[in-house]
Symmetry: C2
């Protein structure tokens, strides 16, 4: 069942709307209890589809074997943590988990063409999964998007539309395009989070069917917080874990609408003036599901912290000096963990898993520039 | 036990030589029978270390969770094949499997500093695993190596040495450096293939504990052929599979010393004048273990074929149009499969697995250039 948060109206799972008729966004709610069995997981495929009993789609999935990414111990300068290397999904970011489910569900529902807007990981992922699944897609990107990102999208056969103006102008152009084509936006879709959540199931399996005390994730639109909250809630409900990990989201100081709300005890993201940040993947000034994200963070007894630009760059180099090569956005978690320890949000002796979202191989030019600047 | 192919001299596993005193290369031979159990594999970690009973190293491994890469069905223009997306290893290439084992074994044997020479995937992998394992490393690269590759190596904290002249001059400089530091070369090491072989175990598991009729791999130095031959031989010996897949190696026409030898029925790679190829990762004019590679190909009833530059580029775009984004080197397998079908080396109705070695995200500039040229 899909439900609108704004007006409570419900729709069937096979409805072909990308949002409620009132304009609100839709969220998926399961109507039957889950069936989760460790044995069926262990004997399942070596991909996120080993958790298919918790993914609400039919048998014909659009998959490139996404998931089962490494969880490895490392000292990132804050004592030992567990790094979830989720940038090792097929197109170089965790978005593949969500896009796999989203494209699968849309195809089930009869969608054959769609539009997405993104300047980065989601665009590459959407273009690739549409290619894999035989869907037509048009990706709207800001005119200044790097050639490297454009070539990955175009190589997959997607139609690339470069939009003059700001990132917001790109979204507006995509919405305009959505009048005639299905708007497949991962942020609006109720299905995206149903794929993203599988990373949390994996952490549970990889930790020997247990969960960490803390989970620290980069926070932009908040799909990682929402995915983890959903997965851990399902595991709690099924009696398979005994506590909800504290979910901590990390934003860049230059774009921290959720952190500002968290600090002030507010229920909705704060309106901010966005400043450019090296963590471009989480530079979302108006997160669509911000209220829910704040509820999940508070509901898990977690927190939200913001980190400055220098500390992000230092975090990036700290990770690469451990052999872990991520894009700058992912590196917010390194100073994030430090801040969370300082503030007491993470206590000594607790276990902490840290999520790394995007590959450094996507950001070669930027990493080169940052290395030159800091020399 | 390590054994020299040239003079048959043997050494213990903990010997600290990188080659035989006679100058020949060393190969590892197991002295005890293997213990392979499907149940212990299934309950093992979600990485290549689920096959640790067949990897000859001790308990303290240098790992970033490499392995368990996707195996997915796709039509690459030649009917349905199984694509092994092994570029989804931690640093973006399958080399991580071998380098994980190699660095682990060298550290066990007391090595603390090493030298490698590479202009590409092996250098990035070695730098990253040395960083992870606390080993010092110096990577020799040709002076013309792209900034992007250099930044990945330097970010991991490796010392980068740019050598004037040709690729062969770089190898000579590394050998010269090896007088004072351990030469960790993955091509010379007897341990590299013991890691690489795990991809073939994975295919066996992913196909429901069975193996394909054919395996098609890019062929440069030949570690993929040797790794697969070793793994499948071990599985045959253990009675866990009933046939050896035909192993087919694909080279670029511009650098095909093994194909030329295969065609002429010779036992050693043919001396050739190398021409530049877009498949730079397999541009090896004098493969060190070439004789063994030819033995493995013939022993498996496989073959070796060469493909031209245009067909490699077409193969690259064919893969990307399926959502599979690899570096040009990997794309040789696409025209390779076509040729193998034409020649009858692959018959109708047979199952074929195809190996993809390196990430397209490492080759953004080159892919951009190829797209511009072909427009």
């Amino acid at each position: 069942m899909l439900k609108c948060r704004a007006c409570d109206r419900t729709y069937k799972d096979d409805c072909s709307l990308w949002r409620c008729n009132c304009g609100g966004y839709l969220t998926y709610f399961r109507e039957r209890p889950l069936e989760i069995s460790r044995e069926s997981i262990r004997s399942g495929p070596l991909s996120m589809w080993r958790y298919r009993s918790v993914i609400p789609v039919g048998p014909e999935v659009i998959s490139m074997g996404e998931g089962v990414t490494p969880l490895v111990k490392a000292d990132i300068g804050t004592g030992e943590v567990l790094l979830k290397l989720d940038y090792l999904c097929p197109t170089g970011s965790y978005k593949d988990r969500g896009i796999s489910v989203l494209t699968t569900k849309l195809r089930e529902n009869g969608v054959t063409s769609l539009i997405e807007d993104s300047s980065g990981n989601a665009g590459a992922s959407m273009a690739s999964y549409c290619a894999r699944g035989g869907l037509n897609c048009r990706i709207f990107v800001p005119h200044y998007t790097s050639a490297g990102k454009c070539v990955q999208i175009e190589s997959a056969g997607a139609e690339l539309v470069k939009v003059p103006g700001t990132r917001e102008d790109t979204s507006a152009a995509a919405l305009e395009g959505a009048r005639s084509t299905f708007y497949g936006s991962h942020n609006w879709s109720p299905w995206f989070v149903e794929g993203v959540k599988t990373f949390a199931y994996e952490i549970w399996e990889q930790m020997g069917w247990s969960v960490p005390d803390n989970l620290v994730v980069p926070l932009g639109q908040g799909s990682l917080v929402l995915g983890a909250y959903r997965a851990f809630s399902e595991l709690l409900e099924a009696g398979l874990i005994d506590h909800m990990p504290k979910l901590h989201g990390v934003q860049a100081e230059n774009c921290a609408p959720i952190v500002r709300a968290y600090e002030r005890g507010l229920g909705s993201p704060v309106s901010i003036d966005k400043i450019e940040t090296v963590a471009e993947g989480i530079s979302s000034s108006q997160p669509l599901r911000g209220e829910e994200v704040l509820e999940a963070i508070r509901g898990s007894k977690g927190s939200a912290v913001a980190v400055d630009e220098n500390s992000i760059v230092e975090g990036l180099f700290r990770l690469s000096s451990c052999g872990v090569y991520v894009e700058p956005t992912s590196a917010v978690v390194v100073p994030g963990v430090s801040k969370l320890i300082e503030s007491g949000a993470i206590s000594e002796g607790e276990t902490t898993a840290v999520f790394l979202s995007g590959s450094g191989l996507k950001a070669t030019d930027k990493i080169l520039e940052l290395r030159r600047k800091t020399k």
